[in-house]
Symmetry: C2
Subunit: 151 residues, 2 copies
DNA sequence: CTACAATATTTGTATATACAAATAAAAAAG
DNA sequence: CTTTTTTATTTGTATATACAAATATTGTAG
């Protein structure tokens, strides 16, 4: 469906408006679908993002600011996200001995197990959701989004 | 910057993952920039969205469910969004006389004035933010996003 | 060494979002 | 006409987000 129809617009939309609404709307749909996968695991999208970052550290701890700068939504409150993951015993948190301002966050085995369980579901979902476009179109979309973002 | 660099990914990302992250990330950047424009007017993006829908009604009232189905983020809580707009006297709210389950929401002159004040700023911003792509590329991006969304 | 600046994180507060349950009115069924 | 179902909206609750202020530690300048 065209974006004008998705939001049942009663007024004409110029191309810049359409693009912006289209990106906003598409992201909302994507998040919604992704949250459905995460729901049985009692994880929010942001919490999942933190776990993925921690796994990517391959055993090395990550500071709060490292997590923050790697997040898709960089304005998220990392402290409170880590709090929630700590309660579920998916991560550990310790003061860094070399610099006591910093915090070392590590993913636990339980956290890794949850991600391992999610991996095939997430991958399948990503394959399905991108299946409407061929490789060439996907590469083009990727390229256009990056060009769009960069000044 | 490429999406892998924006999120400082330590692991390789396949094309479906890249596309999805790219859309999510681009939307966050867009929202952030748009919120800067709205901030002096003490409006959230969702509140602005509701005002735009109401103006599009051209004098006719809109029910809560009409607003909901026209919103970009359809999961927003329309009642509480309208509450906030009511407090700022940007809308009025009345029970529909023909069907007392329904609510008639109308934009006030003050609401129209705020939108009129915002219009040039929003349009300029949209022009600037889409200026990196030519018309052809914008149309292609639009087309690819719609194809991506639709099964 | 002390004062000041910079860095890293946490906390407070207001608002927003997600989702289920509650309420209320209208429509349909019996 | 009463009961049940459907429709429209509101409310409760937990979590999330935005943003400013507070706290704590380290680094730097004099």
């Amino acid at each position: 469906m065209k974006i004008e129809d998705e939001i049942k617009s009663t007024v004409a939309l110029d191309l810049p408006k359409k693009i912006i609404l289209n990106i906003m709307y598409t992201q909302h749909i994507l998040s919604e679908k992704f949250n459905e996968i995460l729901k049985p695991y009692d994880l929010s999208g942001e919490q999942y993002n933190v776990l993925r970052i921690l796994r990517g550290q391959k055993g090395n701890p990550a500071n709060m600011c490292v997590i923050q700068e790697r997040m898709v939504a960089k304005t998220s409150n990392t402290t409170r996200l880590v709090d929630k993951l700590l309660l579920k015993e998916l991560v550990t948190r310790n003061v860094c001995p070399e610099n006591r301002r910093k915090i070392e966050v590590l993913i636990t085995q339980k956290g890794l197990d949850v991600l391992a369980d999610l991996d095939p579901k997430v991958n399948d979902h990503e394959k399905v959701i991108t299946a409407k476009l061929d490789t060439n179109e996907l590469e083009q979309l990727n390229h256009l989004l990056e060009k769009f973002r960069n000044q």
